[in-house]
């Protein structure tokens, strides 16, 4: 499959058209369920498990009363969260890699043609001496999407879990996770860890909001259980899929080599950089808006449109 036909559809998964429609919907009355419709509504909200809702408990997100006006803080936070979504590559993850760097890290090397998974055929450029070569153009695209998604998740203070079952890289991945302040699971995956979490991990535990698979297969060359369980629990996944892996259940697959140490180290480095970058950006933006908010309440009153200065600050450091 040519990258060109895939690309627009994938890129169209962005967030350009929806906001307008949402604005229209917002002014309408809430659905037939009414203010006490916390049952289905809250179920719906918690079904999606958005990270920002748990990270901003001070927001009145569960208040069913439509009459109350949003507080300035909520407005500010809403702006913090919405601002990155208006740009295609807010965190500029494209600059972190290039097709050349992927090639140098041997990301394009797949397994032998006999190991090929049927669903990976679109991503394979060709086969040389019976070894599959992955199309790095597509890889670059998918990688950009995946890193962008990861960055957004990290920006919104989501819990990111690195999963792999390759003992060769287990130590490296755990170090990477620890260094960016996220979590790792490169050990034996207990059965109901995600699906039966209240029992195994604690009564009111918070599940990961994103799972990143450095290796999609486990030690017996079967798909890792967490792929299926994450899909069951509606947890989005990012995964590096080799030519013998099944990319179907993974939300943001990255076709690439997961066996060579340089390739795995490159991916680890990329994920670490994006997550750190996103968290830095979050801190900056929060500080900025807090400053803005203080000035606003002192001088001019409640909700103010963001000044052009702020917009310029946001524009700095990234090129959309």
């Amino acid at each position: 499959m040519v990258a060109g036909s895939v690309l627009p559809r994938l890129l169209g998964a962005g967030v350009r058209r929806w906001p307008l429609q949402l604005h229209l919907v917002q002014t309408a009355t809430p659905g037939p369920v009414g203010p006490s419709g916390r049952t289905l509504g809250s179920a719906v909200t918690s079904a999606a498990r958005e990270p920002e809702r748990s990270s901003d408990p001070r927001l009145g997100s569960r208040d069913p009363d439509p009459a109350s006006s949003p507080l300035p803080a909520a407005d500010l936070n809403e702006r913090i969260l919405s601002e990155p979504l208006k740009h295609l590559d807010f965190f500029n993850v494209k600059e972190l890699f290039s097709v050349r760097s992927l090639f140098d890290a041997r990301v394009h090397l797949g397994h032998k043609a006999g190991c090929r998974h049927r669903f990976m055929e679109p991503y394979i450029f060709g086969s040389r001496l019976d070894q599959d070569i992955i199309d790095l153009e597509q890889t670059a695209t998918h990688l950009q999407l995946a890193l962008n998604f990861t960055a957004h998740m990290a920006y919104r203070e989501g819990i990111i879990l690195f999963v792999s079952r390759r003992r060769q890289f287990s130590h490296l991945i755990e170090n990477v996770a620890r260094d960016c302040g996220e979590y790792a699971h490169t050990r034996y995956f207990k059965g109901g860890l995600l699906t039966n979490a209240p029992l195994l991990l604690g009564p009111s535990v918070r599940l990961p909001d994103l799972i990143i698979f450095l290796h999609t297969l486990n030690n017996v060359f079967e798909p890792h259980i967490a792929v299926r369980d994450a899909a069951k629990m509606n947890i989005p996944t990012v995964g590096i899929v080799d030519t013998n892996c099944n990319p179907s259940l993974i939300t943001y697959p990255i076709p690439g080599n997961d066996d060579s140490p340089p390739a795995v180290q490159l991916f680890c480095r990329l994920f670490q950089t994006t997550i750190n970058r996103a968290k830095e950006k979050r801190k900056q933006v929060e500080a900025l808006y807090r400053l803005q908010g203080q000035e606003g309440t002192k001088g001019r009153g409640t909700a103010d449109p963001p000044s052009p200065g702020v917009q310029a600050e946001l524009d700095l450091g990234h090129s959309p």
Binding site: G12, A43, V44, L200
Partner: protein, 554 residues
């Protein structure tokens, strides 16, 4: 497949964005409307499925209580409280009218402790188990980066240990690259420290471990400690070693006291051990062989020997190999026991001249000056019996490889023969403590413990457990020796010649009391037949005369 992914992706990012919008107060209304809108659009079945999933995992209790505290609300709460109070009183069997706040508090406490309090003395007082403390912060993010594995302490320990191993290896590689690498072998003190046991590790980590996990961890630590470590790594490994309290130090070993007392059952023995002796043991003024006659304790350690045989043996009362050969007509037979011992006990030849037709010890004469007498008696049926009591007496000496070096004088009273034997053994062991170094003592003790643990030695003297074969027969070197002999299937002839005997006798006399290990088989010796039990159980061979130069002296 691509289409599938697109809609997934669309849904994911759509949810993200919706989430951003949802932060307003009219959250659910927005969702409902949006869901309705989506359902109307054609190709979005997957999205509809998502929206109707009910997944409630996060119950941030503090967050859910966002109701405004209006007067009506408060009144309603008061009513509910009163109703609940009466209900509680009814449940507890109390009178609803007089159910005071204190009672409520008490009941609340109980339920609170059951449900909310995870650890503490109150839980223990109620007989409830402790739950681990909450391991995440206010925002729900866990504190430890390995929280989602389920066993964070154990895995973080493994991670740390492996990290240290990698560091050491890197350092070695660097040294090797610079050419400064030197092979340094580390000798960890074999006595004095041991690895943590599984229970101690579980206690340290506050987590349940399985045996495989424990074994894996210990293997990793051993691998780490085998490499040349830095001070930091040594300290890390040292955290998981416990010093073995050298209990023998606790015994007051007075320096030059050779007299010792021993008690066993109701027998009391007092023993005086003299250095530079020749292995003579006197009990109550009588030679020990006479004092503990074989006929009195029917020991199971009986090897049957057929016919006349010349056996050379060195005292190892734990084992001996006998040769049997020839006809049974052995009236004047010199029995030499060949003995092979794979450890460092020097094998000396001892000649016993025991008239076969006498089973009484009184008619048995043992060469007085030979070190390491074999307490053997040959019964007319052809069995050689080893007295259990005599073994016990010899045991301390044997263990310390000092079989022929000490003279012992003991007085014993009370109990039966076996008990007296045990008492004497205890006393001799205690007395011998003065002669040996501390390390040796500790080694003795640990060795004994090890052998007992392995099941090679009985826990109490004379005991072998139900259905167990005699301990010495289970010793690997014994088995090896006998198997070797059987394999070679060559039998030692009777060395009748005087020269042979004297040569054999001379050899051990000249041998140093050093600890030289040697084996009978290695010297090209013949096979030694081993026959257990009496006539019924034993296997018989027709043998040849054993050349005496196969004497095993060094």
């Amino acid at each position: 497949m691509a289409a599938l992914r697109v809609s997934c992706g669309a849904a994911a990012s759509y949810r993200l964005f919706l989430g951003g919008r949802v932060s307003f107060a009219r959250g659910q209304g927005l969702w409902k409307a949006a869901a309705a809108k989506l359902q109307r659009s054609p190709g979005c079945q997957i999205l509809r499925l998502r929206h109707t999933t009910v997944v409630t995992t996060r119950k941030n209790v503090a967050v859910l209580r966002r109701e405004t505290y209006t007067v009506d609300f408060i009144k309603k709460q008061i009513e509910e409280f009163n109703v609940g109070k009466r209900h509680l009183a009814n449940m507890m069997g109390e009178d609803p009218e007089t159910f005071t706040q204190e009672d409520i508090d008490e009941q609340n406490l109980v339920q609170h402790i059951c449900c909310v309090e995870r650890t503490g003395p109150k839980r223990a007082a109620l007989g409830l188990q402790e739950l681990p403390a909450i391991q995440w912060g206010e925002d729900g993010r866990p504190f430890h980066f390995l929280f989602y594995t389920g066993r964070q302490s154990y895995y973080s320990l493994m991670h740390e240990a492996y990290g240290k191993l990698l560091d050491v290896e890197n350092r070695q590689d660097q040294l090797r690259a610079k050419g400064l690498f030197s092979e340094k072998t580390k000798a960890r003190d074999p006595i004095g420290s041991r690895w943590l046991i599984k229970e101690e590790l579980e206690e340290m980590l506050v987590e349940k471990l399985s045996d495989q996990d424990y074994a894996q961890f210990i293997r990793l630590l051993e691998r780490l400690s085998a490499l040349p470590c830095d001070a930091a790594e040594e300290e890390f490994v040292g955290r998981f070693r416990r010093s073995v309290t050298i209990q023998s130090k606790k015994q007051l070993i007075e320096p030059l006291q050779y007299d010792e007392k021993g008690n066993r059952k109701t027998a009391k023995a007092k023993v005086a051990v003299y250095d530079h002796g020749s292995g003579r043991i006197e009990v109550n003024g009588v030679d020990y062989l006479l004092y503990f006659p074989v006929t009195q304790d029917r020991s199971y350690r009986k090897l049957s020997v057929s016919g006349s045989c010349v056996l050379k043996c060195r005292l190892c009362h734990l084992c001996f190999l006998g040769l049997g050969m020839g006809s049974r007509k052995t009236t004047k037979t010199n029995l030499d026991l060949f003995h092979s011992c794979w450890n460092s006990i020097p094998v000396e030849a001892v000649l016993l001249q025991i008239p076969v037709n006498s089973a009484l010890l009184s008619s048995c004469c043992v060469h007085p000056h030979q070190p390491g007498l074999a307490p053997l008696v040959c019964s007319p049926r052809g069995g050689i019996q080893l007295s259990a009591s005599l073994e016990q007496l010899m045991f301390p000496f044997h263990f310390l490889d000092r079989l022929g070096e000490h003279d012992v004088t003991c007085t014993v009273s009370g109990g039966g023969r076996a008990a007296q034997a045990g008492a004497i053994r205890l006393a001799t062991a205690r007395a011998l403590c003065s002669f040996v170094t501390e390390d040796e003592v500790e080694w003795m003790r640990q060795g004994w413990e090890l052998l007992v643990g392995l099941g090679a030695l009985p826990l109490t003297a004379g005991a072998a457990g139900p259905g167990a074969s005699p301990a010495f027969l289970r010793f690997p070197w014994f088995i090896k020796a006998s198997l070797f002999m059987l394999q070679r299937d060559c039998l030692l002839p009777i060395p009748v010649s005087e020269s042979g005997r004297s040569r054999a006798r001379r050899e051990p006399a000249g041998s140093s009391p050093g600890r030289s290990a040697e084996c009978l088989g290695g010297k090209g010796g013949g096979a030694v037949r081993l026959a257990r039990g009496g006539r019924a159980g034993g296997r018989r061979w027709q043998g040849e005369a054993a050349p005496s130069h196969l004497g095993v002296g060094n």
